[in-house]
Symmetry: C2
Subunit: 443 residues, 2 copies
């Protein structure tokens, strides 16, 4: 493969013509493929076939609770025990709730705005506040901040997690920084898993705000693609050891274990945080859907079976990730117009174009019938400062469709890149080179 | 039966002795009965047996949606259609959500505090605000207000709904009154259904606050005990006709139709209100548990079947209500120490003791092993100004237990009443009589 930047203008123009022909062919296929969200595919959902049926018309929890009736605010004891084990916390440090961990995060921030987080410090909503947003990150996290007018500060993501030098510097001096969004394992979209050192630094760092909180969205805690899971240090333990026991809220769910829309969501934290939260949740609801909790318990029985179940997910997903990565390598490798992640787990491949190309690539793919995650979505306010990051979500489409979509995608990347190179040569070649050097390499 | 107030002191003392013996006998039985909440009984829950099984491993909604996956924020189209028909609104005027209508109310008020209700007026949280609370009412409504420091103004409940003269007078002059809690049909606990005139007046009344809202908790919309349902005028239509189309939020759920902890909750309102709400909910969650919605649809198929299903509930509940009402009549009728409601539907019997007796009765029953709803719980801040209202919840216990519990209850009422009469005779008889006259008669 040839570095595009070294090719002369005529060669590039010739390639452009050929690729354009191919692109027009794609357009005539009238594709309608959606790769915009990290949704499990049917085959994955089928892995939980029999989940609801496992209730077998026996609705009694282990303590005799009739799960059809009211109550059980913190979740069934057996559900708390199972997910406490999986998240490496204690059963009294966890609440198992409804089908949405996003709702748990959203509601927690809502209450923090009105009441504060600890009953001692002021409500967060009394003054303008800020959140640190390691980016590229998860657009729904950023949407909560934007909704509540919480200023977002973009923090670069390194191979081992957020840029901790910057994080520590900011939180040490600015009392209005109240939180940080973290997807610590197989991060969305970068695939990065936080190193032990990053976890320790997050737990230990001095924060000017005494009510600073880590929103630890461990959405991909068990979502390994390889048979050799990447370890993640226990943040709750780290916070306790650092004498900041109340600093972290851990979120997770079975959305990508059982049913994306009908799983169980959970939040774990210190006992005082959990007890405070339960009191507040008791005003909001009489209790979660315990039948669904019971069904999950009956289906899985124990933590080991959850882990085995995740291996089945990996077996479905690995070929999809391999296909994407192979196509990227075949079509774009060595051309120096893109870089991408090779994740060990999670749901995404993070792809970087040349600066200023991401929006155009996504638009071009859409024009030919392949919808990708909106360019910019992985950054606060939907603005990618370099317009280079694209989140590839390979999980949902069947392999054949994925192949077509990625062939189109790599075509679009090449076309937009060539166009960009040619244009910058027309104007001045220095500009591009400057951009190129400042580009963050995430591979 | 003899009016206790006409009995001489010696007769009362003699009765007191006999009743105390009976009470001590009860105590020795070491009962452990709970009548504190309006929970459906097992027999009622069994009526929905097969609900989850009705999915029959086919998870596709009518529009092809795989209900196991993400999405579907406003609820499945077929679920919206079914409950729109039952609530007499349009499908685009309803959101079918998770398992808790309380959560829908709570979250709506939370957002109103932060953003206001209509995008034009100020956030409710910017100044101290008030809610009107027809009472006796539902403690969980009042708990939301108390949680958010919303001042509650008690409004007496008449036979046809809240005291509308008072309501109209208050809302016309006080801009800080932003809402009213209504349980318009078979109200909790009074059993009252709002008359057409009350509904019309609520829809039409001039409110000083342009962003005044009615929180219409139609929890017992289809929960008739007799075969002759009490009609309720359509408040959304009434509001539209009165040129206040956005004034009302209607809430309901299947908590007392299918499963109390695992049913479907819904909110209905004007299209602008619903669209605004959906946008806000889209920040909170990707969507509700659609599998449970689909199961409900498969189980019921149509509105007529829901109505038939409710007749089965009535058949289970009527004997319980009859038992309680008969026992109250046999044991307390004519004694002029109590009054009570004779509801045509819903989940409760509202019981009034002589003033100043309710707390003692509830305590006495608890001491002998029968837990009733906390006295005062039916009033804002848990304070019943006359200490007279007790909510009787006959639905949960089996008939035999209910009989025992009510025998004990009527005993406690008599004992506490006699004690009260004797004490007031010791002090001065005028005080009691004054109280007695000012007592609101709810029967």
């Amino acid at each position: 493969m040839v570095d595009f930047l070294t090719l002369d203008t005529d060669t590039l123009r010739h390639m452009q013509k050929q690729l354009t022909l191919k692109y027009e062919n794609f357009k005539q296929k009238k594709l309608k493929l959606n790769m915009s969200r990290g949704k499990p595919c049917s085959e994955q959902l089928d892995l939980s076939s029999g989940l609801l049926e496992s209730l077998n018309r026996n609705y009694q929890a282990e303590d005799g609770t009739d799960c059809r009736n009211y109550g059980g605010l913190g979740g069934l004891p057996e559900a708390r025990r199972l997910f406490a084990e999986l998240l490496e916390v204690q059963p009294d440090e966890i609440i198992v709730h409804g089908n949405s961990s996003l709702a748990l995060m959203h509601d927690l921030i809502t209450r923090a705005l009105i009441f504060g987080v600890d009953g001692q410090e002021a409500p967060w909503g009394q003054q303008p506040i800020k959140f640190l947003c390691p980016s590229p990150g998860y657009d729904r996290h950023f949407a909560i901040c934007e909704f509540y007018n919480i200023e977002m500060i973009t923090i670069p993501i390194r191979e081992d997690g957020p840029d901790m030098d910057l994080v520590e510097k900011l939180v040490a001096t600015d009392e209005t920084i109240k939180g940080i969004w973290c997807i610590p394992k197989y991060s969305n979209p970068t695939g990065v898993t936080y190193s032990d050192q990053v976890v320790t630094r997050l737990a230990r760092m001095k924060t000017k705000a005494p009510d600073f909180r880590i929103f630890w969205d461990n959405a991909y805690a068990w979502h390994d693609l390889s048979s050799d899971p990447v370890p993640l240090k226990n943040i709750l333990t780290a916070c306790k050891e650092a004498n900041h026991p109340d600093r972290v809220y851990i979120f997770s769910s079975t959305s990508k274990i059982t049913y994306a829309g009908a799983g169980l969501a959970m939040v774990a934290s210190s006992v005082p945080n959990i007890n405070r939260l339960k009191k507040q949740m008791g005003i909001q609801t009489i209790g979660p859907n315990k039948l669904n909790q019971l069904a999950h318990i009956r289906f899985f029985k124990n933590a080991q079976n959850v882990r085995l179940h995740m291996k089945k997910h990996a077996a479905v997903l690995r070929p999809k990730f391999d296909l994407v990565l192979n196509l990227l390598e075949t079509e774009l490798g060595g051309k120096k117009i893109a870089s991408w992640s090779r994740p060990q787990g999670g749901y995404f491949i993070s792809f970087n174009t040349l600066p200023g190309c991401a929006k155009k690539v996504v638009q071009m793919a859409a024009d030919a019938g392949v919808e990708l995650t909106k360019a910019g979505a992985t950054f606060p306010y939907g603005i990618d400062p370099n317009d280079e990051n694209i989140r590839i979500a390979p999980t949902y489409p069947p392999l054949a469709e994925l192949k077509t979509a990625m062939e189109l995608f790599t075509l679009c990347v090449q076309l937009v890149s060539i166009e960009n190179i040619l244009r910058s040569r027309e104007h001045s070649s220095t500009e591009l080179l400057l951009h190129e050097e400042s580009r963050v390499q995430i591979v």
